[in-house]
Assembly symmetry: C2
Homo-oligomer: 211 residues x 2
């Protein structure tokens, strides 16, 4: 049960493993993957180097586990957010607009700003990772495109599209605005930049589907 799926919570090792991943995620988003040393992670968690290598066979296994956990959490967040928005609203357009509003508020409530997107971090360091990890990145992104594209299709079935745009591109644009917003938020040091950009995307959607 060293590598592979998340161990059942009953096992103690899973807690340590998660602590390592927590420390690693923070560090990788602040210093990059190569800039994150195993020594600092074990110091943060309070284990030895041997303990680290018990959980991850090498640094590459850490990279993969980190990304897998991140993707699973983001998926769960989107599931939760937009299913709640759907419950509040019958109409697919209004449901999406409500979901985006909730997303923006959720991001605005992060006191120190968004910590960063692991997908983006990995993209800017992709030569450090093997094919498997890069494929994971691609697959997750395409999955999110499909997720939002499906919602846009449901909206387009009821509302006319007021511009000649590809709905895949419009779906991508949410992730584009989110990832770009995180970067600009970090660059200028304004935590409110990201949630405001999400609202701009929301406004564009209204424009696209409504009078």
């Amino acid at each position: 049960m060293v590598s592979g799926m998340n161990a059942p919570a009953s096992r103690k090792g899973a807690a340590t493993r998660d602590q390592i991943l927590d420390a690693a995620e923070t560090a990788v988003l602040a210093k990059g993957f190569a800039g994150t040393s195993i020594d600092e992670l074990i110091a943060a968690v309070g284990i030895t180097k041997s303990g680290f290598f018990y959980h991850f066979k090498d640094k590459g296994a850490l990279a993969k586990a980190l990304l897998e956990r991140y993707i699973a959490r983001e998926d769960a967040l989107f599931d939760d957010l937009f299913s709640r928005a759907d419950e509040l609203n019958e109409d697919p357009l209004h449901g999406f607009l409500v979901g985006l509003k909730m997303l923006s508020e959720l991001l605005a409530d992060l006191p120190t700003g968004h910590p960063g997107c692991l997908i983006a971090a990995y993209c800017y360091q992709d030569r450090l990772f093997d094919r498997e990890v890069r494929a994971l990145n691609t697959r997750a992104t395409l999955g999110w495109r499909r997720r939002f594209r499906d919602r846009l299709d449901r909206i387009a079935a009821r509302y006319p599209l007021r511009a000649d745009v590809d709905l895949d591109d419009v779906a991508d644009m949410l992730l584009v605005v989110a990832d770009g917003g995180i970067i600009l938020s970090k660059a200028v040091g304004e935590t409110s930049l990201l949630p405001r950009q999400i609202l701009l995307y929301r406004d564009y959607l209204r424009h696209l589907f409504q009078a």
Copy 2:
């Protein structure tokens, strides 16, 4: 003349220095800053370690020089692009729209896709750099905000804004879409994604200022 401003082209050292920066930029965008070794740079350029340290007192000086050159080049590109668009067009809105079209086409013509934005790469590794470098990043980004904000103000003087949006946010959104577009382009491996996202931003601008 070791550090500081770009040396005059007549000096041979400037050519070597630029070669180091070329190799470094490619490597940093692919593997991150910490993942880029000085050894690989000197191997790529064909000099010795001593030669490297003749040009840069340490790796931090390389980071700073790299970012300075990148910012100067991007500034020059924006100057060139939008001044050409302005010459073709009297109207500020149409001028901006033409400039965005040209930007999109320029990005579409890159055969292997956009190599990446150094600002974004540095944001995701900012703990590796000193205050000076981080301040440079912030200043450049704010400069670009101001640049586009000024154009938007000139547009808003002639065209009514069709939504309750902050023009600083709209200005930021171009960089947001560009940086986010680069990331998604890399993530899904579609070089055409970024130029298409620029066109979506262009479409949003039309929506915002026209009927």
